[in-house]
Amino acid sequence: MSLDDAMQTFIIECRELLESMEAALLSAEEAPASEEAINAIFRAAHTIKGSAGLFGLDHIVSFVHVAESVLDKVRNNEIPLDPPLVALMLQVCDHIGLLVSYLEQLKEPDNDLLEGSAILQAGLSIYLSDTPPPSASTLPVEHDAPYESEGGTPVETDNWHLSLRFNQDVLRNGMDPLSFIRYLGTLGKVVSIITLTDTLPPLDAMDPETCYLGFEISFSSNADKAEIESVFDFVREGSLIHILPPRSKISEYIELIQSMPADDMRLGELLIKCGTLTRQELEDGLASQREVESPDQAKPIGEVLIEQNVVQPVVVAAALDKQKAVKDVKTAEASLIRVDANKLDQLINLVGELIIASSGASLIAQKEALPHLLESTSTISRLVETIRDSALSLRMVPIGGTFSKFKRVVRDVSAELGKDIQLEISGEETELDKTVVEKIGDPLTHLVRNSMDHGIEPAEVRLARGKPVVGTLKLDAYHDSGNIIIEVSDDGGGLNKDKIFAKAVERGLIKPDQILSENEIYNLIFEPGFSTADAVSNLSGRGVGMDVVRRNIEALRGTVEIRSVLGEGATMRIRLPLTLAIIDGFLVEVGDSSYVVPLDMVIECIELPVTQAGHNAENDADFINLRGEVLPYLRLRKHFEITGEPPRRENVVVVQFGDRKMGIVVDQLMGELQTVIKPLGKVLNKIRGIGGFTILGNGRVALIVDVPSMMQEAEHAANAQISDAN
């Protein structure tokens, strides 16, 4: 791993740690912080400091160190984690984030940044009024001996065993292994030490600045494992540091022996020399492990040893408990794999090609009408479908992560506005495509800020209206017919229809005599240059933003709509397609052209009543009676200006988007089709009513019908007609 890669990992890790730190801080603000939360905050700071030290980022180390010292006091119950401290810590979080982004952009820390550090450090040092802890926060604190020997008299195995192989660059990074060993002396007593010179090259071949020495240490101490481990926090990266508690299971020693590059017996001998193991124990351990490995892998060596009374169960249990926490974290990490997003994209592209190829194969099978071929192609299609679903699900992430960021936004904005606003989050487990998640953050922030600024009234107004003083902002997400719906709702004043209308007329967006539906009036706030706020605040009201919000959402093939009840609140509903790559489609034909309607939107298909056939063909929009319901329909033939005579029998595909239904009249229904969405080129992507294209099994191109925009168009046309009639 080159330094750049390592640095990238460091940056990513920092971001994640800061996120968890922020989340823990925010939860601490709401309810008294649990010990766990405080530990999480502390650990985050501690790890950042440690890793930063490894890269020689002194400005980060020194800054985080102060914060860590304060957190250590919190952890030791010396100072309470009260709201002012939480607020300060949040600023510290932000500042670390800033330091890290400087790093990411390869910018040298400038004066502003360092000044920011200094101010926060000054704020923090108030909490450290008495003498600050010497070096790290890991003071040699006396603890109750967790692994007290049963008999009381210390026996050899009551010592810790430390196996240290340092990163070769440890010296260059300004750290001296000897000082760690010296520091160990403050935690306990080094009973015996073996300095390993195996890897030391001859004098003329050695690089004097590379660290070659390793150590095996038998160590007697009352400190707990975490404390001993923390001694090596700064050198952990790239070093092999093994710490075995007193009376660890023999298997752990064996594991240690096997994990070391040196050959088994050499290290085994070292352990014996160190006095950690007796020769008998080592041999037994090695022997029983061989035994266990062959017949049954699953049985933990520890259990075997207990059965054989080699180690005492109590001791094993104690040791296990102590390490369980550490291990749990590691397991969670191990079950996740970080994958380059590009690789996933490539996979999904390939799956797309696979779908096209397999539909080509089934087409041939159908033509040839060979039963065996048909059977096998249908199996392949089914498998391809499964592969498609699992490939796409790889890209799916729960929206909860995005939502929880808003805790901070709401907290900060409500403080800025002087309003008391609480955030309610639901549906955070709803999954959607990662690209969508990334791109939805900004528009969502805008909507949230807008709701808080314009939607929720000041406390006095709320009181006068008989509402609870604390305003509520809700974020919700759920799936709805192949779409994901994200709602931002507030219990504020709602949108004032008349005011918006008047404003739009004033801005020249509409004519005073125009007739608009309620929805269309609300949608005016998304027009460029529209703002009804009487006062332009820091947050919103400048009239930029809402149009950008809509543009961003439309770029994701989504829509945004507003529900509002005057005096009771408003809901902004963002509707987004679940994925941007592959969908289930419904293939239809008009004349010689093929079209795909997203299957999730199709409700049913009916035959166009004969009374309507050919009738009114001049009209773009018309309606039929669908079981007593008025269903407006649109002729695709007319819409796309396809020449030729319509067949005698036409079909209607009934589609639904949101709560609106519409019929699309086509010549022929071809059936379901897995559709790989290919975006249209720059020249064509402005065409309304088409969302992209796909390649059919026979190599022909089918256009994907963009139902929402087609609906809009149909409505516009209808409204225009009404206006004309008026």
């Binding site: 010296l171 001296d176 292994p177 000897l178 030490i193 300095t195 030391l200 004098l203 050695m206 600045e209």
Partner: protein
């Protein structure tokens, strides 16, 4: 830091004073290389070494290992307290075998 090297045929005498740390490691390495490779008998005077870290220690260890392999003699004639402490802390006094704490084990 200063390092004084006297080479008289197969005999060598090296006096090191000041700090033996990573900051000077490259210089030490360069300065120690000729006497260690040329001399059959080499004496190291570390009486006035004020500080020694891992880099200094491993240089000494490497030099000593070489002398053991080639059958030459490398002895430390004087230890400062710091050097002695480090040798104690790493249990290497026996390895060097000079009259500090233990008698020679070879």
């Amino acid at each position: 830091m200063t390092i004084t090297v006297h080479i008289n045929g197969a005999m060598g005498h090296v006096v090191i004073e000041g700090e033996m740390t990573i900051f000077e490691a490259a210089e030490y390495h360069a300065a120690l290389l000729p006497p260690v490779t040329q001399c059959h008998t080499l004496e190291l005077d570390l009486t006035n070494v004020t500080e020694i870290d891992t880099s200094g220690l491993q240089l000494l260890v490497s030099a000593k290992l070489r002398s053991q392999q080639t059958g030459s003699t490398l002895s430390i004639t004087g230890h400062s307290e710091t050097v002695q402490q480090v040798l104690d802390a790493t249990d290497l006094a026996g390895f060097f075998g000079d009259q500090v704490v233990l008698t020679a084990s070879e």
